[in-house]
Subunit: 146 residues, 2 copies
DNA sequence: CTGCAACCTGAAGTTCACTTCAACTCAAGG
DNA sequence: CCTTGAGTTGAAGTGAACTTCAGGTTGCAG
């Protein structure tokens, strides 16, 4: 089996055929066609798909994913080095998000300690009342002091 | 200032007035009304709002948030203990998600090492080819071996 | 007491990420 | 060859989470 049908892709990636067509319309993956106009995928498209799914889990929009994938070569099969560059970039994104969530967790733990989640004391909230200068929302989380 | 207007709430929480009305329709927050039918919020509704925003960041749906908030008392102002119970539950959710993302990061790091993200070797992908028995998708991540 | 920014409502619109539908064509095993 | 499961299309539908709009009301500073 040289090229994969849309059904093969769906089975192997866990992404529905309708989603595969959607991703193609949106420029996230590519396919060739048979003489009878059916899609055929190169095996390495599965890698793109895996990447897309991972990004989704991390809460990244398809638009961002498309931009990221645009870094891969158009005219040749991506090499290990291509993927390595992409992965490195994403590891950083991922780490940022993990940091945010850890901060969230620690603050929430602190809140359990003080039993509050209160406006006066809890840095989970801490809006204009005390940090007006830094803008809206839970500033301690989004933009903590160094 | 005893009660807050919708504008005050928006300013202090960073949530738009339209979203506040929406949350109220959806049963996530509550307000009283003036004789002239304008919303007035008790200060502790800001706590609910903070909780909602935090949950959103973690990728939880409003429906889940509503269910969680339903654990708070209807007829009295929530106590520290009420919030503490809720927070403890959420810390667990948060921790699960952090664990998932750390796994993701570690796998991605491994992938940079091997330069692959490849079907044959990379456990970021690993679909039916090798783990058919466990279902679809990147099984090593969603459901890793003990 | 007046002006006007802020508030009200219901309905419709928006974006994202898909799925579903109808009507049709293709490909491959018996 | 023929059947039938898999694939094709464009258009419309879905659900979450809001925003925008039109047309009207309220509340407070001057």
């Amino acid at each position: 089996m040289e090229l994969l049908t849309i059904g093969d892709m769906a089975a192997r990636s866990g992404v529905a055929p309708s989603a595969l067509r959607y991703y193609e319309r949106e420029g996230l993956i590519r396919s060739t066609r048979t003489s009878g106009n059916q899609r055929r995928y190169e095996r390495h498209e599965l890698r793109r798909l895996a990447f897309i799914r991972i990004a989704q889990q991390v809460g990244v929009s398809l638009e961002e994913v498309r931009d990221a994938l645009a870094a891969l070569p158009e005219n040749r099969t991506p090499t290990k080095a291509d993927w390595a560059r992409l992965s490195a970039r994403w590891r950083r994104k991922l780490e940022e998000r993990i940091t945010l969530m850890e901060r969230l967790r620690d603050q929430l733990t602190g809140c359990i300690g003080c039993g509050c989640l209160s406006l006066q004391r809890c840095n989970l909230i801490n809006p204009k009342d005390r940090l007006a200068a830094r803008g809206e929302g839970p500033q301690m989380l989004l933009n903590p002091p160094a």
